[in-house]
């Protein structure tokens, strides 16, 4: 094991990985320290704060569990079936994850709200209405956002099982049950914990969704408590403490997942598309078709309603919204490039010695409160520059670090398989350094890299992030313009801007993801 890191990454690579981890730590823990340092008096957490911690844990754990449990049959259905439009559907189903929160909430309410389609239908047939507001609403929304992410992460696990193993299973006459036991279950053991943590941590920092669909302050999360500490109480010390609690929860979840996860150990294959003889029965086919249909309705109907409302407005959007769209695309592309450049050395270093810690450092970006991060950066930059002058570069950097965990999640399983399958061969050939990166690592990681880059671009596109704290004239991004339109009563224009944002995010995601998949059947 000791020579693994050296074999895969070389000393230079490890140093690079450590440098990236250091940068992430500076941005996450460093900004938190800056906020704590600026606080005038130390204060503790009150009972309301602990109630927020409890609710946050409850909703995040439930959201992650439901998302991951539902994602397994969805991913299995997509892994077993080949049909026209399959790749388009997979990309479209990723859309909820990249939507700005406020748009997604209005889309969900158009389906599940008081005057939504579901209640209209229930009323029409004389059944009692259902209310989305409450814990159920928080869970529906978080599953809506994160089921696509969980599905894609798990689907990658299926795609990573070499086709030869399914061929062997078929020649041994194994049915769906046995394939499940010998191939799918070990794969899930390797992939599920990571997917669960990713969703858990995303939900950890939820605020506006949890409050709106949770129906009121009973659904107060840690992030809202941080907001209150800043805005209502101006208690920086409490804000920093709460942000530290958020990090601790993230690390605890990561540690737990690392204990549960086991490498699947399938070895390398020949990259042939997998034929799935085990899924040939009519009953399984019906089951898969049903699952795909259900999840498509659940994820796409709210989006369709957002489109329906906004499309007629797009043509009439003012020029400044288009200018902001161009700016947002530029920011997204820059932060994607940066994110991939950060993720690759970090992921390679994370497969080596002390890798768990490096992986954990990479995940911290997700658990960061954007308010603490923005304020901390503001405090750190202010002695040297006008923070407003750096609005766009800072946004590029922060978006890259926030997307890093997702790219890392996509890369790591593939990279570990790569090391297990090709590590000895490339060591015996003396393949290392950049030659190894160019000839082995990058080609083998093409699909997860494309997926990760697509996610990074789309997330950067849709994220309001720190720009709201730094914005100066001429630095507005598309999400900020969307919020400003809403703040000025212009709900129709905002709906048009939302469609533009959705289209651009999906377009960017599609281009990268498609480019990464190339000919492969993922």
């Amino acid at each position: 094991m000791a020579d693994r890191a050296v074999a895969l990454s070389g000393r230079f690579g490890t140093a690079l990985g450590l440098a990236v981890a250091g940068l992430v730590l500076c941005l996450t823990l460093g900004t938190l320290a800056a906020v704590a340092w600026r606080a005038e008096a130390a204060s503790g957490l009150g009972p309301a704060d602990w109630a927020a911690v409890r609710f946050t844990l409850l909703q995040a754990a439930l959201s992650a569990t439901i998302s991951v449990v539902l994602a397994v049959p969805v991913a299995r259905a997509f892994a077993r079936r080949r049909f026209r439009g399959r790749s388009v559907l997979i990309a479209l189903l990723g859309a909820p994850f990249i939507l700005p929160v406020i748009v997604a909430v209005l889309g969900l309410l158009a389906v599940f709200g008081r005057s939504g389609l579901l209640n209209d239908a229930l009323r029409a047939v004389g059944l009692p209405e259902v209310s989305i507001y409450g814990l159920q609403g928080v869970l529906v929304a978080h599953v809506f956002f994160n089921l696509p992410l969980a599905t894609r992460l798990i689907l990658q696990g299926w795609a990573a099982i070499p086709a030869e193993r399914f061929r062997l299973a078929a020649s041994l006459g194994l049915g769906a049950g046995e394939v499940g036991r010998f191939l799918e279950r070990p794969m899930l053991r390797a992939v599920l914990p990571g997917a669960w943590v990713a969703v858990f941590v995303v939900c950890l920092t939820s605020f506006a969704v949890a409050l709106t669909l949770g129906g009121g302050p009973a659904a107060t999360t840690v992030e809202l408590a941080i907001y209150q500490a800043f805005r209502f109480d101006f208690d920086l010390s409490r804000a920093a403490l709460l942000a530290a609690v958020q990090f601790a929860l993230c690390l605890a979840a990561g540690g737990l997942a690392a204990r549960v996860a086991r490498p699947a150990g399938f070895g390398a294959g020949l990259d042939r598309p997998a034929d799935r003889w085990d899924g040939a029965s009519g009953w399984l086919k019906a089951q898969d078709v049903g699952v795909i249909a259900l999840v498509s309705v659940f994820l796409l109907l709210p989006l369709a309603l957002v489109l329906l409302r906004g499309v007629p407005q797009v043509g009439a959007l003012p020029g400044s919204v288009w200018a902001a769209a161009v700016r947002s695309v530029a920011v997204a592309l820059a932060s994607t490039a940066l994110c991939v450049a950060l993720a690759l050395p970090l992921a390679i270093a994370a497969t080596g010695r002390g890798g768990r810690w490096i992986e954990a450092a990479g995940m911290l970006g997700l658990a960061t409160s954007s308010l603490v991060l923005g304020t901390g950066l503001f405090l750190l930059l202010r002695p040297w520059v006008r923070p407003g002058d750096l609005a766009l570069p800072v946004t590029v950097l922060v978006n890259a670090v926030m997307a890093l965990p997702f790219v890392l999640r996509a890369l790591l399983p593939a990279l570990r398989d790569l090391q297990a399958g090709y590590g000895r061969l490339s060591a015996s050939l003396g393949l290392q350094g950049f030659a190894r990166l160019r000839l082995l690592t990058l080609p083998r990681l093409r699909a997860p890299l494309g997926f990760g880059a697509g996610l990074a671009a789309a997330l950067s596109m849709g994220d309001l992030g720190v720009i709201a704290l730094f914005a100066d004239q001429g630095t507005e991004t598309l999400p900020l313009q969307l919020y400003r339109l809403m703040g000025a009563y212009r709900m129709d224009d905002a709906a048009g801007a939302a469609v533009l944002l959705l289209g651009l995010s999906l377009g960017l995601f599609w281009v990268f993801d498609r480019g990464g998949r190339g000919h492969a059947g993922l």
């Binding site: 009121g216 161009v326 202010r382 709201a468 100066d472 703040g487 009563y489 709900m491």
Partner: protein, 332 residues
């Protein structure tokens, strides 16, 4: 595609303009403002153009959380003036000791509340109100009491006082009408509260999407629909118990490196040029403007018979306990 090209053209032109600008000799006046004020769809850009036409300076609105930023920066702030604070924040702002008097005569303001503050200068005002759509709610509650007694099927959406100024204003409104009975009032209102949102925008979006029957907003909100959308169905429910007064304020900083410009900006705020941009720029009542000069839609708005108001000292003292009461009832 054409829009894309136009937008790209505008963008590159503006970038080029920024690059070409010579080391400008014009002094810069930095004014911190809330996001909605400085946004393209707020009053900021027009006011900036008007002021720059007379000041031989470059007025820059820097948007964000005005008070939070000021408290973090302290005396080292680059702001020369600030605009957009409410009375629920001015006590804390005043306590920083960063401001100097505005030097304006506030004896003839067109506000329902007399104003004597030497530091914080009003530029616009409004009153809290629940807004409804008469095509969906033909018989709105005629008083606060009627709202409390309304059937549970009447759903309102409000904002969280911890993250929203209008949410905090609602807390103070309830306190001003009901005083110590506020907890019982919240308990009666709670079944009708569909949900609580982070900010005003989310609430108002839910209302216009038809999800809620009434939304916590302002008496002036219907003017937007009337003037910008020619839609007369949105109305503010006027309650005889009174409506809470919200005034937005500006102030100049003692540490400004452009004290004359900051003073000129203060002088400009109560001018007709500035004040005439408020009604349709910020959808509020101007602090000093002949009512005859208000746009037609504003003149037609019904005015509450009674205006409720807490001074900043009262508001600051009530803020924390009122929030605690609210959380106690609403978290159950």
């Amino acid at each position: 595609m054409r829009h894309f090209l136009i937008a790209a053209g505008i963008l590159s032109a503006s970038l080029a303009a920024a690059d070409d600008a010579p080391a400008t000799t014009k002094p810069v006046l930095v004014v911190y403002a809330p996001d909605y004020f400085g946004s393209e769809w707020g009053p900021g850009p027009q006011i900036e153009a008007d002021f720059e036409a007379i000041c031989a300076c470059d007025l820059q609105f820097s948007t964000g959380d005005v008070l939070g930023r000021l408290m973090i920066e302290g005396a080292a702030t680059e702001a020369d003036a600030i605009i957009g604070l409410n009375t629920d924040a001015t006590a804390r702002a005043r306590a920083t000791g960063l401001f100097v008097p505005h030097g304006q005569d506030t004896s003839d303001l067109t506000m329902p509340v007399a104003w004597q503050d030497e530091v914080f200068l009003p530029f616009n005002w409004g009153e809290t109100a629940f807004v409804y759509d008469e095509s969906r709610l033909p018989n709105p509650p005629a008083s606060f009491e009627a709202l409390l007694d309304a059937p549970e099927s009447l759903k309102i959406v409000i904002q969280d006082p911890r993250s929203s100024g209008s949410g905090l204003a609602l807390l103070l409104w309830v306190k001003a009408v009901y005083g110590d009975e506020a907890p019982e009032v919240w308990a009666r209102l709670k079944p009708k509260i569909l949900t609580v949102t982070k900010g005003w925008s989310e609430s108002y979006g839910m209302f216009t999407a038809g999800e809620a029957d009434m939304v916590m907003s302002y008496t002036t909100s219907p003017a937007y629909h009337l003037i910008a959308e020619e839609d007369a169905t949105k109305k503010a429910a006027i309650f005889p118990e009174g409506h809470y007064f919200m005034v937005e304020l500006a102030a100049q900083l003692a540490g400004s490196d452009q004290p004359e410009l900051a003073q000129a900006f203060m002088d400009f705020i109560l001018s007709d040029t500035f004040q005439s941009k408020i009604a349709t720029g910020n959808w509020s009542y101007p602090a000093r403007l002949d009512p005859a000069r208000l746009p037609e839609g504003f003149a037609a708005l019904p005015r509450p018979g009674k205006t409720l108001f807490y001074t900043e000292t009262e508001a600051e003292a009530l803020r924390a306990p009122a929030l605690a009461e609210w959380l106690e009832v609403m978290s159950q």
